[in-house]
């Protein structure tokens, strides 16, 4: 009798869950992706945490005058980059020094920023908030502004079980939203998971060319090995990774970006100097310049025929993930 009752309750409960429009949310690793690097045990993803993070991501009060949110320079339609801007424009239209990278697949990031200055996603958001060229605010003041907004205490209660808003919880919520921004549904991914028709013949050839000619750095399912390299572009003042390590061997090295969603994330390179993918490939074919710490894999250029270039470019379009830029869950509500 007792058992039957218990079973009945369980069925009733699961029925409730099904009816609920706001289904619970978990981070699901795409089967062909490697294990994520983010320590989820320190920040369990919940729907409430994700939704709070989403509101924070789109809240202009993270900036000094309320004008700039994270979403201002990381637009979903541009795979969370600042489309069309070589370097991003922050508060008072101040010009940043680097191109806004996509907020995508961050659960696999070992370091963040073009120079890898932040080693933990949970510590990331403080940097754009406090950068005078971006949001020009202090993190402490952001927290005190959020405390005064009536909307937040119940959301923190739902997400973290406390109405006490603190810096660490703001950061954890922002991480939850950003960690869910997984892009793994391109035509390449469908091909990778067994749909042999997902790629055309040319794209399949292009994929093999990318593997052999670009795969040294743009490696694995993320199409980046997350390392820092000098790829032979002409260098000006920005010494990249050197700024973080002060090691001469790191001068002019920048994080290898992913090849996913390139259609949406133009322009390219840490300063957005190349407007088209064609110009990027041309750089590796003919434009490489010698400079300290140039990566051996590009120091003599990469030999790519015209035909190969076309196939590479064709394949790269198969790495665009339309679901990622259209997913309403990721948009400002």
């Amino acid at each position: 009798m007792k058992k039957v009752f218990f079973l009945f309750v369980l069925v009733a409960l699961s029925a409730c869950k099904k009816d609920d429009t706001t289904t619970e949310l978990t981070f699901v690793k795409p089967v062909h992706f490697p294990e994520p690097t983010y320590k989820f045990e320190n920040n369990r993803i919940t729907r409430a945490g994700f939704e709070l993070g989403r509101i924070l991501f789109y809240d202009g009060d993270l900036s000094r005058d309320g004008s700039i949110s994270c979403g201002s320079c990381h637009l979903q339609s541009a795979a969370f980059t600042h489309h069309g801007h070589d370097v991003s424009h922050g508060i008072d239209d101040r010009i940043g020094s680097r191109n806004a990278p996509p907020v995508m697949n961050l659960a696999w990031g070992k370091t963040f920023f073009w120079d890898g200055g932040v080693h933990d996603l949970d510590l990331f958001a403080i940097a754009p908030i406090e950068n005078p060229l971006e949001m020009d605010e202090t993190f402490a003041n952001v927290v005190s502004k959020l405390k005064k907004k009536a909307v937040y205490p119940p959301l923190f209660q739902k997400a973290f079980g406390t109405t006490e808003i603190s810096g660490p919880l703001v950061l954890k919520a922002l991480s939850q939203f950003q960690l869910m921004l997984v892009s793994a549904e391109s035509r390449y991914d469908k091909f990778r998971l067994g749909d042999t028709n997902a790629l055309t013949a040319d794209e399949k050839t292009g994929l093999e060319l990318v593997k052999t000619k670009c795969g040294n750095c743009h490696a694995g399912e993320l199409f980046t090995d997350d390392s820092f390299r000098n790829n032979g572009i002409q260098h000006f003042g920005d010494k990249g990774r050197f700024r973080i390590t002060l090691n001469d061997d790191d001068a002019y090295k920048f994080k290898v970006p992913s090849l996913r969603n390139l259609q949406y994330t133009a322009p390219y390179m840490h300063d957005g100097r190349f407007l088209t993918l064609d110009a990027v490939v041309e750089h590796y074919r003919k434009g490489v310049r010698q400079s300290p710490n140039i990566d051996p894999s590009v120091s003599n250029g990469i030999s790519i025929t015209d035909d190969e270039k076309q196939k590479i470019l064709t394949f790269l379009s198969a790495l665009n993930d339309e679901n990622f830029i259209r997913n309403k869950e990721f948009s400002e509500q």
Partner: protein, 271 residues
């Protein structure tokens, strides 16, 4: 003879009392706990440090006015007279001393085992573990949104260990403030993914006269520590603000950290 006889019992009693009192001094109940105070008294050479108003001279011959002088003290060890150490528990061993905040200059360590402590040792800065730990564990003065505000580099994750700012006619004009500002922001825990500068320094301080802090349940002694802010710019490298007015995360910062490592001194111990 008679008088001596009369005195003898008193003398004996007196001697016994002395011995007994000595004994009391020597045997300390191992379970007894007390407190000890570390008082950080910021000075500039022989004078009390005063923010903004007073002009000081550096070894490089430059005039400076100091507007801010803050530093982290952490990982405190107290050294007993026999050389053994009491290590203050990690969670209670992080302090941010600010010249602008009098309360922050008095560090009270509680639950300290009763003993005679001859030295105090601590880290000037924050260890690499706390520089890389999960943000939810960074509370109080380690919280970048609260206690550590202004003492944390967000673009190159890590704490600023020592911050001194001010003005000097020798420093170049700062376009943002229209002042001749100097800024010493010294940090660098050695790096996590790549090795980089490590400006974590340690201080080990003993009173020159050998006075010890006698911690008892009934006695709360104080190490009165002077902190000579002049040592930031003066020492093995006499820093010129003409050339190094802005010293933050760069190779030159190592010289500044080497300088200020010796700014702490036990002036005296109150028992």
């Amino acid at each position: 003879m008679k008088t001596l006889k009369n005195i003898f019992p008193f003398a004996l009693l007196a001697a016994l009392l002395v011995v007994a009192s000595c004994k009391k001094e020597d045997t300390i109940d191992p379970n007894e706990k007390g407190s000890v105070v570390l008082e950080f008294d910021n000075i500039y050479e022989g004078q009390q440090l005063k923010l903004n108003d007073v002009t000081y001279k550096t070894a490089a011959g430059e005039d400076i006015n100091i507007s801010q002088f803050d530093y982290f003290v952490s990982n405190i060890h107290l050294v007993k007279e026999d050389g053994s150490e009491y290590i203050v528990p990690q969670d209670n061993s992080y302090f941010l001393v600010k010249e602008s905040n009098v309360a922050s200059q008095t560090l009270t360590l509680t639950d300290v085992p009763a003993a005679n402590y001859k030295s105090v040792k601590f880290m000037i800065g924050v260890d690499s573990l706390r520089n890389t730990m999960d943000v939810s564990k960074r509370t109080g003065i380690l919280d970048p949104a609260a206690g550590a505000a202004g003492m944390y580099w967000s673009w190159n994750s890590g704490y600023i260990f020592m911050k001194m700012e001010g003005t000097s006619p020798s420093a170049p004009l700062d376009s943002a403030t229209n002042l001749r500002k100097f800024r010493m922001h010294i940090g660098g825990f050695g790096g996590l993914n790549s090795k980089t500068i490590n400006n974590i320094k340690e201080a080990s301080l003993t009173d020159a006269d050998g006075e010890m802090a006698k911690v008892r349940a009934s006695a709360k002694p104080t190490f009165h520590i002077t902190v000579d802010a002049s040592k930031v710019l003066n020492g093995s490298t006499n820093v010129s603000l003409k050339t190094n007015a802005t010293t933050m995360f760069n190779a030159f910062s190592v010289n500044v950290a080497n300088n200020y490592q010796s700014m702490f001194k036990v002036d005296h111990v109150h028992n």
